[in-house]
């Protein structure tokens, strides 16, 4: 399966929810859509599912030599952002109903259900009404419902929301398992730490536009081209001397003995380190590698013309 989104635009009344967005998703990868609320992630997902159509641009899904303009229902497992199941029916009845709608026979559906309920430690609760389950457990049931029929493509809109850290980790494992089973996964999320562990590729969106796209390494390259060096010593550091270094653009003194140096874009790190070691006897010296959260904030701030702190706020 290959999924291609080409210059897609979607407008609601006076709001442009998605503006000229393009990206591709390859078979078997985990692809993340990242962005703040209103970035256009759910609008893209709804167009992929076929609920809405693009006003401009195109979506093409290639599967077994056939091309579609949205993901065909038979290939799709979907967890919408706005989600719920029948609270007055048991876990088993809910899952069986959805599985049968997907074309599974009862025996097959029950057998697959056994596996996933075991994975999510919900076997004991299978005969309980859904409304008796906690919100997190209800969400797990919905995740099971999205994959019970072994779809080729799973689209999960905010799969981590409402889950505690332990269950978030379980969902990470669950998604890895889907990937191992050959499924392609598209997910939207705010939880950068989770996405960092999972996603093969991602796009960062803001106000309906793609801000950054690629693998995590590529995003790092795009979002944080400046190298940062964390420096600490037993004695106070010479701040003025550090600022006078040619390759250094900024020095943040956290304490008199600790500093964060930001180097010029494309600066050679080796000569700078040699200069530092010639003058200072460092207790610790390390190249700082920003996490996805920081990259996300940097990208957002750059896109919106704000500082990372303002973007975070």
């Amino acid at each position: 399966m290959q999924l291609r989104i080409d210059a897609v635009t979607k407008q609601y009344a006076t709001v442009t929810a998605v503006n000229q967005v393009s990206f591709q998703i390859q078979s078997g990868e985990i692809f993340a859509l990242l962005g703040p609320n209103g970035a256009g992630k759910s609008s893209i997902i709804r167009m992929l599912v076929g609920m809405t159509k693009p006003d401009a641009g195109s979506i093409s899904v290639c599967y077994q030599d056939q091309t579609f303009h949205h993901v065909p229902r038979r290939l799709l497992g979907y967890l919408p952002e706005d989600r719920g199941l029948y609270g007055d029916k048991s876990v088993e009845k809910n899952l069986l109903f959805l599985a049968q709608l997907h074309g599974l026979g009862k025996t097959e559906a029950l057998s697959r259900m056994d596996h996933w309920l075991e994975v999510f430690e919900l076997t004991e609760r299978r005969h309980d009404d859904l409304k008796q389950l906690s919100k997190g457990n209800q969400q797990k049931v919905q995740l099971i419902a999205a994959v019970l029929h072994k779809p080729a493509l799973v689209i999960l809109d905010e799969p981590f929301s409402g889950l505690d850290p332990i269950n978030q980790e379980k969902v990470v494992d669950f998604l890895k398992q889907l990937k191992q089973n050959g499924m392609t996964v598209i997910l939207s999320a705010h939880q950068m730490a989770m996405v960092e562990k999972l996603a093969d590729r991602m796009v960062l969106m803001a106000k309906g536009e793609v801000v950054l796209a690629g693998t995590l390494a590529e995003i790092r390259q795009q979002a944080q081209p400046e190298v940062q060096i964390q420096l600490s010593s037993k004695v106070p550091l010479p701040a003025d001397w550090l600022r006078s270094l040619e390759a250094v653009t900024a020095v943040e003194m956290h304490q008199p003995e600790q500093a964060l140096l930001t180097l010029q874009r494309d600066a050679e790190v080796g000569p700078v380190l040699q200069q530092l070691l010639g003058r200072i006897e460092p207790e610790q010296i390390a190249m700082q590698k920003p996490d996805l959260h920081q990259l996300y904030l940097n990208a957002m701030s750059r896109h919106q013309g704000q500082t990372p702190q303002e973007a975070a706020a």
Partner: protein, 393 residues
């Protein structure tokens, strides 16, 4: 064609509201209540008791099965005291200031019957005063017989068994539509409230979803109609065969009429379910929307039928029996009272089925478009535009 997925949804919807234990208990309760009402009416039937009436010595009225007239020798005040003390008398008749007065403790069901007996007695007395014989008086009391003669050969008569069946079908339709009304509103808006709809959209088309809903709730309506019929039939059999000791006679049933009643009733239920489904699909929150009331429009054909029932050959009933939105209720009543050619029945049914198909498509379209509005409820203008649009979904 109905898809396999629609059938799964229909089964799900039907079973969601089918709690067989509760249903059984409610029907047993219904039977018990009907039995209780019957027993109460039987036990409190005052016409089966005998009442003692004190009359003045001058009144020589003959006793009947219900009333025993006595002329006591005690004076009126003593008679009235006995009446107050609930002794001896159920009523006392006296002549005061030139008119007859009937004294009783309180109003009773048997009083009009007593007055009728006394009126007959006094009329007989007056007839004697005028020199009329009993036979002449009896003749005088008989109303002049006026027979109705209907020149319309197609008219079957005023109180035919077919008309009773058509009336029964109207009542059953009312029961069925009431059942469907509540269930459809709860099911469709409930799904939106529980946020199941978007997930379902990824599995089946809006049309498949709407077809399943309509079918499932139509089945529920038919089940309500069928079980009510069975309960009524059981009650009728118990009363007529076991209580009244009559033989079971169903020869008055006109199977030709019943054969036509069934498809009209089925199509009518489907049409109303499609309409209700379409309206419910346009409701985002039933607590704040005023659209739910519009679903009751489906009861109007039943009301119209009742209003025109006295003129089965009139233009109003003829017109309504052709209009697809009313024909399901009106045509069965019309055909039960006048002869309707088979081609008219077929054409009316075909029009009705075509409207069911259109309404079904409209329901699917409203569901899809309503969902695309993300929580914003479509206006009547939007719905009208979708109804008139020929654009494929």
């Amino acid at each position: 064609m109905i898809s396999r997925q629609s059938l799964i949804v229909a089964r799900w919807e039907f079973l969601r509201f089918f709690k067989w234990k509760q249903q059984l208990i409610s029907y047993l309760l219904m039977l018990a209540v009907m039995g209780g009402v019957f027993a109460w009416v039987y036990l409190t039937d005052e016409s089966r008791q005998q009442y003692r009436i004190a009359v003045p010595g001058s009144v020589v009225v003959q006793n009947t099965e219900q009333f025993e007239f006595q002329r006591p020798s005690i004076d009126l005040s003593q008679q009235l005291q006995q009446l107050r003390d609930h002794q001896t008398w159920h009523a006392v008749l006296s002549y005061q200031d030139g008119s007859w007065v009937l004294h009783t403790g309180a109003s009773s069901k048997w009083l009009p019957q007593l007055e009728q007996v006394l009126q007959s007695y006094f009329q007989l007395q007056r007839a004697g005063d005028f020199g009329l014989t009993d036979a002449q008086l009896t003749e005088l009391q008989q109303p002049a017989p006026i027979e109705r003669s209907f020149l319309d050969d197609d008219f079957k008569g005023e109180d035919t068994p077919e008309k009773m069946i058509a009336f029964a079908v109207l009542i059953l339709l009312l029961i069925g539509l009431s059942t469907a009304f509540g269930q459809i509103l709860m099911s469709i808006t409930g799904e939106k409230q529980q946020r199941v709809t978007e997930q379902l959209y990824a599995i089946l088309t809006p049309q498949q979803w709407m077809d399943g809903k309509v079918l499932g709730h139509s089945l529920s309506a038919l089940k309500a109609m069928l079980t009510t019929t069975l309960v009524m039939l059981v009650f009728f059999l118990v009363v007529s065969v076991l209580v009244a000791g009559e033989a079971m006679d169903l020869s008055w049933l006109n199977w030709w009429v019943i054969l036509w009643l069934i498809p009209f009733a089925l199509a009518g239920v489907l049409l109303c379910a499609c309409f209700m489904g379409a309206i419910a699909a346009s409701i985002d929150d039933p607590n704040t929307s005023g659209k739910g009331v519009v679903m009751m429009v489906t009861w109007l054909p039943l009301l119209f039928t009742y209003l025109v029932i006295d003129s089965p050959s009139g233009w109003a009933m003829t017109l309504l029996s052709w209009l697809p939105v009313t024909s399901f209720a009106v045509m069965p009543v019309r055909m039960s009272m006048v002869e309707v050619p088979w081609w008219q029945l077929s054409l009316s049914l075909a029009l009705l089925l075509a409207t069911v198909y259109y309404m079904r498509r409209l329901g699917g379209r409203i569901f899809l478009r309503g969902m695309q509005m993300y929580g914003k409820e479509p206006s009547w203008g939007d719905i009208m535009r979708w109804a008139l649009s020929r654009k494929a979904d």
